[in-house]
Symmetry: C2
Subunit: 214 residues, 2 copies
DNA sequence: GCCGTTCCGATGCGAGCGCATCGGAACGTA
DNA sequence: TACGTTCCGATGCGCTCGCATCGGAACGGC
């Protein structure tokens, strides 16, 4: 066998270049030539890895989705000892992409989301990333509600003596997960366009989470 | 004076054409030629109205923002007799753009939001639309909280006897407005990419509003 | 009726795009 | 070492883009 290259890692390398360019100039600023230049490979190499530009974009989107999902998972195993409620807060903070180092990722994500609204292939890829994310959040919320129902309230300020079980029955974990996911995406968007500052968004998110249990 | 045309109405006509095209193929599918064809004018006419493409896009964005803001305002004056709480619900439903006839508007909006993340001019225009919207929601929430504090709870199911005043003090209207705005935008986005169905989003929104007062 | 002004449709230009093509470099195998 | 296979960098093609240009149509004032 003659020269052989690692296609997988090269595809990832190219996907990273796509991300950098999309972060700077939006998806419209992503051209095969610029991608090749940014990835330090030739255009021919890019064309070998991806038959068309769309194939490249779809792969990149999947790549980002995987990375974000992985980050949430990593964050969850990093803090397993604490309550499900705090774990939920950590996970939500993780996907809100508010920290400066993830701002670029958020911009790229937003660019793809907009494109997915008019491109079914991208939309499918995007949904494939959202589904497990929502699943994870649903589970976390259910666990947190169970924990709250089982023990007394740990951080509540008011003297409400009602059993948590009642509240757990009132909270629909799936609906709450959807709410949280949509809220986080909306906050991220508003930060990106400068309508909210990161601390303001953080404050909103924190308040929402706090109300979930209070 | 020789031939004179109504520039204002022509600009609006062109803006509508931009919206139609952006709805179908995203902002990338908006070219001067296609816009001219869709608006049934020549390319020269488009170039006369807008010196550059960007100027056209900025105007279009402002146009949409104005239209949405106007719709909210119209909805509010149409149902003034009811409580501030229901008015809030109506306004939120209005900007969530979930109804089929507004889905196109939502897609265009999303396309512009994504572009605004990498284009300061668009971002400024966008913020100019969000600011009064948030202002309106802040006011509505404050009024609703006041009304709740003044009278007894009207729809609460639990037998909680706490005075509403305490709760009103706990609710920060501005923060709630930010939350609601972000949630609505997130829900709209998730509907557009097919992650949620309109009824699901409607359900989430309704539950969130209900919890605001309960 | 001629003129001055405003408008616009058609056309051209340079640039940049995605994609196809191909000659040769690189490298394991015999 | 000679060969066969895999890879890739360079180049070209056809196309579309935003924008500039310009000749003439439309129309009120003199």
């Amino acid at each position: 066998m003659p020269k052989q290259v690692d296609h997988v890692s090269r595809r990832r390398l190219i996907a990273e270049a796509v991300c950098h360019l999309a972060d700077e100039h939006g998806l419209e600023g992503v051209t095969l030539r610029d991608v090749a230049a940014r990835a330090q490979v030739s255009m021919g190499a890019v064309q070998r890895c991806f038959r068309t530009k769309e194939e490249m974009l779809v792969f990149t989107l999947g790549h980002i989705g995987e990375r974000i999902g992985e980050r949430v998972r990593a964050r969850l195993v990093r803090s397993p000892a604490q309550s499900a409620g705090t774990a939920l807060g950590h996970a939500a903070t993780e996907i809100s992409l508010l920290r400066e180092e993830h701002r670029a990722e958020a911009r790229v994500w937003l660019a793809f989301v907009a494109q997915a609204a008019v491109n079914e292939t991208l939309a499918t890829t995007l949904r494939a990333s959202y589904a497990p994310l929502q699943e994870t959040f649903t589970r976390l919320i259910a666990e947190a509600a169970d924990a709250e129902a089982g023990s007394g309230s740990d951080a509540g300020a008011d003297g409400d003596g009602d059993a948590g079980a009642d509240r757990a029955a009132l909270v629909d974990p799936r609906r709450e997960a959807r709410t949280l996911l949509a809220l986080v995406d909306g906050l991220t968007t508003h930060v990106l366009i400068g309508h909210l500052t990161p601390p303001e968004a953080q404050d909103v998110l924190h308040a929402h989470l706090a109300r979930l249990w209070a």
